[in-house]
Symmetry: C2
Subunit: 409 residues, 2 copies
């Protein structure tokens, strides 16, 4: 087209992020994103669920919110109330739950009622990129608390709270991913959860508990949710079906006391989240969720083994990591001279996508030689080949690993 | 539960809307909301589409964005490009389209890249409540331009633009619903569209064209979209499947030049809109959209006739309206002494929900005796009974209509 392009730039509001680039497809060896294992998607069950729920009540799609109102499809909320009780010891009813368009909308709704520019929040030092980016865009300071093999360190949390208090700062909340932490894969033990709740009470700071990976634990043993252990109703809990069923469905949820939930609901001006996906999930999950999850986690665990073996084979001792207790990602430490922000574009050129550490941490120095590798989506063969290529690229760029085995191409 | 409730109030950000009330169900005679006619929902076709698309490519649900990237399911965007060419003369490709979670997210994304507190926009004087509420929440001044039977008056638009310019104000855009305007049901003729584009060019103001009702025209004749007629690529066009297929699905779209679309895409941080709904819609619409729409509009037109007859019967000359050229709502003028903000709660108590005029207008005086009545969702019988009850309530509260016929209960 020869038409002159209208210049929108002078009319844009200040502070917008950079424009998006055109999408050019996924990398052949893709170790990024919360994508799931396509082979473990319960497709036959979802198709059967779609048929039965649409045949029975499909005409309710003609009404916004079906017949369930703005908090989301009631049968799905009822299933969640049962699941949360069984798995996480959370006592709640369908009325305490708000269905969202993925847990990302849940993040936005929680952030939206609390955060203004200049505010402070506390989170794990290594944390979910989407959360950290949101704080940056909102002009919010994120104070990162170091983790060890058992998740957020309570001595460090106590110190952070005391330090903020001494400076007259009351953080808006403690954001934590206590159950299969992203990216470290740690699980906060029950004793630490009690300590966190005590500290939260002492300082009058609520807790924002992101439990979106909690279903993916190898031994299916998890401590009660912080929400369940709280005695002061100070915990906002969010979760998702993205990791347990299918990420493209975009169904998440918030469990919160009504004095917080009613505020979020008032700002959820989207006329409801996608109803068909809620209907299909409710219909599938009620009879099948419990049997599906162990099948899924067995498959994920095997892929983790392949990834750890491939790293050992290709990187040797240059790649350090703690075996995660569940999830879909491995947090890997490379030698200090490796800068994963530079490794990233070099690897991508060779067809391998990784998450560079600094994008997943409040501490850019600590994380500069770290990377996150997601293992759910690539096949076993892609994991092996991808890690071999990554080792080659890393060797070429940083001399690490010092020696690499021959790579069959 | 006896637990003390943590007080979130001191931590909330300033300027939040009032908390939401608990949902108590829909009114028995519900003339509000963009709900559709459940009988006209193409359920068998949607079920067949769900089966075929899930069987063929359901495993792609394991990946965010399927295999289509962040702009949405490519087959749906391809269908839209063809539909928009055929129906609205818009020349665009799948790459120019961003799929959104309903046209409400489209509103938010467009507003999000342009609007900051203190900004000014131009819109029709009577306009969509959801849009007007968004401007209020954003701290944006909406300058309402009066309409006549052919939509926004161009003499009044020219005057508004000149007045703003004389005060040194450059509005961020002209927001318009040119094709089946909400709430007036008018269609802006092609000649006025050309005038609006000329004024927009003269003043360097882009146009934000909301075409979400454009499929529902009784005679299926519509002028080209403003987007299609623009020579300077200054029009952002949005639409929806809510009115043509099913509102609960929450699928809308934006068509915009890349220098604007890339900005919106960068702020769409929800990891994609619901994929199952996009897949089912694409699969259904490609072969069936064209045959479905006339069936739907025939049904809607009959309901409009029932509504207009009922109003004539129950309100007589006290209810004035122009017959809309399409859509799902009627904009009704009652005598000046009727305050529809007061009629609303009285009617609701009697089981009848209406939209009071002042919520749908920038001019609270002009609209105080007006109301919007949606006719798609209630049955013919509910329309008749609901209008009879509304007339009774209005008579009791305002003495209007002066005499009412006996109501069969």
């Amino acid at each position: 087209m020869n038409a002159p392009n209208f210049d929108f730039a002078p009319l844009l509001r200040p502070g917008l992020p950079q424009p998006a680039a055109k999408w050019t497809g996924l990398a052949p060896y893709n170790f990024t994103g919360g994508n799931n294992d396509a082979d473990e998607l319960p497709l036959a069950g979802l198709i059967a669920a779609a048929n039965s729920v649409m045949a029975r009540e499909g005409r309710t799609l003609a009404t916004y919110g079906l017949e369930s109102g703005p908090q989301g499809y009631r049968p799905l909320r009822k299933f969640l109330a049962q699941k949360l009780k069984r798995d996480a010891s959370i006592a709640c009813s369908a009325d305490d739950i708000l269905i969202t368009s993925g847990s990302l909308q849940a993040l936005d709704l929680v952030n939206g009622i609390f955060l203004a520019p200049g505010d402070t929040v506390i989170c794990e030092r290594d944390s979910y990129q989407g959360t950290l980016n949101r704080y940056t865009r909102l002009g919010v300071t994120a104070v990162g608390v170091p983790l060890d093999r058992d998740g957020m360190r309570m001595d460090a949390l106590a110190a952070a709270l005391a330090d903020l208090k001494s400076r007259g700062v009351r953080p808006k909340f403690i954001y934590t991913i206590p159950t299969v932490q992203n990216p470290t894969g740690t699980i906060l033990p029950e004793s630490r959860r009690a300590e966190m709740l005590k500290l939260a009470d002492d300082y009058g700071v609520p807790i924002f508990e992101d439990d979106c990976y909690c279903d993916l634990i190898w031994d299916h043993k998890r401590p009660p949710a912080l929400h369940a252990m709280s005695k002061s109703n100070n915990v906002i809990h969010i979760g998702s079906f993205s990791k347990s069923i299918a990420p493209a469905l975009r169904v998440g949820y918030i469990v919160a006391p009504w004095n917080a939930l009613s505020r979020m609901l008032a700002t959820k001006t989207d006329a409801g989240s996608g109803a068909l996906e809620q209907m299909v999930l409710a219909e599938y999950c009620k009879p099948h969720f419990e049997e599906h999850v162990p099948v899924l986690t067995r498959g994920l665990r095997k892929k983790l083994d392949t990834l750890m073996e491939s790293l050992a084979e290709r990187f040797g001792t240059a790649a350090e990591f703690n075996e995660p207790k569940g999830g879909i990602f491995l947090w890997v430490k490379l030698p200090d001279n490796v800068d994963t922000l530079k490794l990233y574009p070099a690897a991508l050129k060779a067809g391998v996508a990784i998450n560079p550490g600094p994008e997943w941490s409040t501490d850019k120095t600590h994380s500069s030689s770290r990377m996150r590798l997601c293992f759910a989506s690539p096949t076993h063969e892609e994991i092996r080949k991808g890690i071999a290529i990554l080792a080659e690229v890393c060797h070429r760029e940083f001399g690490v690993p010092a020696r690499i085995s021959n790579v069959a191409r």
